[in-house]
Amino acid sequence: MGSHSKRCRRRRRRRISLYDICDHPDYGSEKKMAEATNEAELLKEKANNFFKEKDYENAIKYYTEALELNPSNAIYYSNRSLAYLRTECYGYALADATKALEVDKNYIKGYYRRATSNMALGKFKAALKDYETVVRVRPNDKDARMKYQECNKIVKQKAFERAIASDDKKKSVVDSLDIESMTIEDDYVGPKLEDGKVTLQFMKDMMDWFKDQKKLHRKCAYQILVQVKDVLSKLPSLVEITIKETEKITICGDTHGQYYDLLNIFELNGLPSETNPYLFNGDFVDRGSFSVEVILTLFGFKLLYPDHFHLLRGNHETDNMNQMYGFEGEVKAKYTAQMFQLFSEVFQWLPLAQCINSKVLVMHGGLFSEDGVTLEDLRKIDRNRQPPDSGPMCDLLWSDPQPQNGRSVSKRGVSCQFGPDVTQRFLEQNKLDYIVRSHEVKAQGYEVTHSEKCITVFSAPNYCDQMGNKGAYIHLRGSDLKPEFHQFTAVPHPNVKPMAYANTLMQLGMM
């Protein structure tokens, strides 16, 4: 310590002195530090000069010596990183850039250096993150912005290449699974498939099991997923069904992981069966806390009643949404990343639209950014993929109706908004009566627009535990195809926060 702190102690009577509040370096070592710093600086200058002369070997040598004297200097690391880049030692360059940032995470050049190193190593996504940081902190730096844009282009190009790569090149999780050898432990007392098949009893047992917040054995989950993938892959992108005069179907909208509200729908409207068919119009997962329970239940019923239980893809049955809004996190927490991979593959096979009695068309989002799309076009969509940024497949999952005629840029930033005239033309061209879609939360659970030609149905009541909205479902009778609306309110659920983030419910009042 030294005389310095003795002075401190004398000062400390009723008041605590300044020196106690912030750590003051010991004068002794401070002097030593000053000396070392000077010599290190001289070595750095020497190295810089070599660098200017393009003698990178020597530059590296002297930066290294400087670092030996002063190992926590971000600039030295950064400079040496640049020298390594010049000599194509990209691994070393990356290590030095990383060290520079460890020493001083606010050292912007460090991000620059690391990005350059990563670019050289072909790690474009990593580079992009760092360029983003630089651009954010130096928004007026033209060079930074240019580099960011270039890198972004490359990242996008690579993503595009991956997306258009054909399916046989991509290996399915199914191929690497060996479900048969998965064993179910003796202490698992939950539901199991009967002879590898989903039965009504299994479904009832599973729903009760889930209600008690218990987990289905992963073998059973895999069995369901593999089987439902097979069933879905055989369906066309546009599914066509006929409801006979005496029959009816129930159409539900978004359910978003609200398992207890789904159970309530079955309570109010009866369990699915051959005489009680259902169509769930996408967005089964994300945002809610029980997405796994919802989707396994829906998939289970699809296997049990393949011709009377229908599922359409929503914009949340995609990788991007699942990553951000909870489903991926939930699957990884309850099962594994591999299982999420399989879910992702299954989602890709979900049909995109359903036509009922050639008169009513159902899809999650809405109609198209361009006129002239026909039902035949929809049949032909190659859907086993993540949706593209534009085009009919994207529109089916993303668009929204608007009150005014024509089309507008979507408030969502994807796809478009379409007016009553667009709906009218589409229906006429395809000899349809009206469309049913979901995708937007509605206070009453449903909304009728475009002169009754565009209906929205949303089945997640009190969405995100905050909106206070009602849920609704539609009864459609084969006799007249007139929609009959049924509303319902939210039921209580266990206080489990959604997997993506801290419970919105909690944050709500604290803003």
Binding site: R15, I16, I21, M324, Y325, K411, A500, Y501, G509, M510
Partner: protein, 325 residues
């Protein structure tokens, strides 16, 4: 010995209110880590970035922080920093350090909160040089006043007090050289709603009676009589957090009224949806690109249920009523 309940209802309620300061800090920490705005001091109050928050929450906090700062900075510029700022229910707020960095410090910056919150904040300040150094820099002598629930220096003062005890508050502030003659900005963010309308009225009235030239900025809930508001109240009740002052949050009018009837000359109020639309749109566009928001309705509802209300009185005719968005 008389029988004593271990936790009175008000203890539980107060404790619930105190934890809201953590919620705000944690949310701001996450939002700043994603780049919504810059705040280099938050990390000293909350080390880890923590779990992700929903995009609408991040955007909501962005609107709150930008909105309040806009008015605050405008007041500082109007008074050329020859003023005081009192942050009521400040929690772990970092405004003092931002103003120091931007060279916009008022003559003195006061923060008030519950004693336990203040003690925590003082501990952070004592143990983190990036927090203490700016305070010490602005202090003329080399000793600061440091008590368990108060820290006083030339330009920064933090006091533990109960805002419902207005005379106690007045006494404590004056003890630390609060100058009623200086133009003063009072700020409360999600604070008044946790006390009864009568208690918040007393506080607002005290401010009007104490300062002849002042502005009061209040950020909190509004439009609470609809379904969304109902759900919010229920959700919070489940957390033992009661919005005792929700009556004043019925509408923008009721928010303005509470100031106009307690001695303030002018009062304006805007809901956060409006504030969001009048913030510099280039930056709004930038933050909207940070995270994709899947359901705009969620953000809309959130923003429509919070407001900024600002009231002024202007004996010195500084033009305070012109401070606006």
């Amino acid at each position: 010995m008389a029988a004593r309940r271990s936790f009175t209802d008000s203890d539980t309620a107060d404790e619930a209110v105190r934890t809201t300061c953590d919620d705000a800090t944690i949310c701001k920490r996450f939002a700043t880590s994603k780049g919504y705005w810059k705040d280099s001091c938050l990390q000293y109050f909350v080390r880890n970035v923590g779990e992700r928050k929903a995009p609408e929450i991040n955007r909501g906090y962005y609107a709150r922080v930008q909105g309040v700062n806009l008015l605050l900075d405008a007041f500082l510029k109007k008074t050329q920093c020859l003023c005081q700022v009192i942050n009521l229910g400040a929690g772990l707020d970092t405004t003092f350090w931002r103003l120091k960095e931007e060279n916009l410090l008022p003559r003195k910056f006061f923060e008030v909160d519950f004693p336990t919150v203040v003690a925590r904040k003082i501990h952070y300040i004592k143990t983190k040089p990036p927090l203490s150094k700016p305070i010490i820099d602005e202090h003329s002598s080399d000793t600061l006043l440091l008590e368990p629930h108060a820290l006083d220096s030339d330009r920064y003062c933090i006091i533990g007090a109960d805002l419902r005890d207005v005379s106690g508050l007045d006494e404590k502030l004056k003890k630390f050289q609060l100058d009623p003659e200086l133009p003063t900005l009072l700020l409360s963010e999600c604070v008044l709603v946790y006390m009864t309308p009568a208690q918040s009225s007393s506080l607002i009235r005290w401010a009007a009676e104490t300062f002849h030239t002042a502005m009061f900025i209040n950020y909190e809930q509004v439009n609470m009589s609809d379904r969304f508001g109902q759900v919010m109240v229920e959700n919070l009740q489940r957390r033992q957090c009661s919005l005792a002052g929700v009556e004043a949050c019925q509408s923008l009018d009721s928010q303005r009224e509470r100031f106009l009837k307690t001695g303030w000359e002018n009062a304006e109020a805007l809901d956060m949806m409006t504030v969001y639309s009048v913030l510099p749109q280039e930056d709004v566009a930038r933050i909207e690109r940070l995270e994709f928001l899947d359901e705009k309705e969620l953000l809309q509802q959130l923003l429509q249920h919070y407001c900024i209300c600002w009231a002024t009185k202007d004996k010195l005719s500084l033009g305070l009523s012109q401070v606006a968005f």
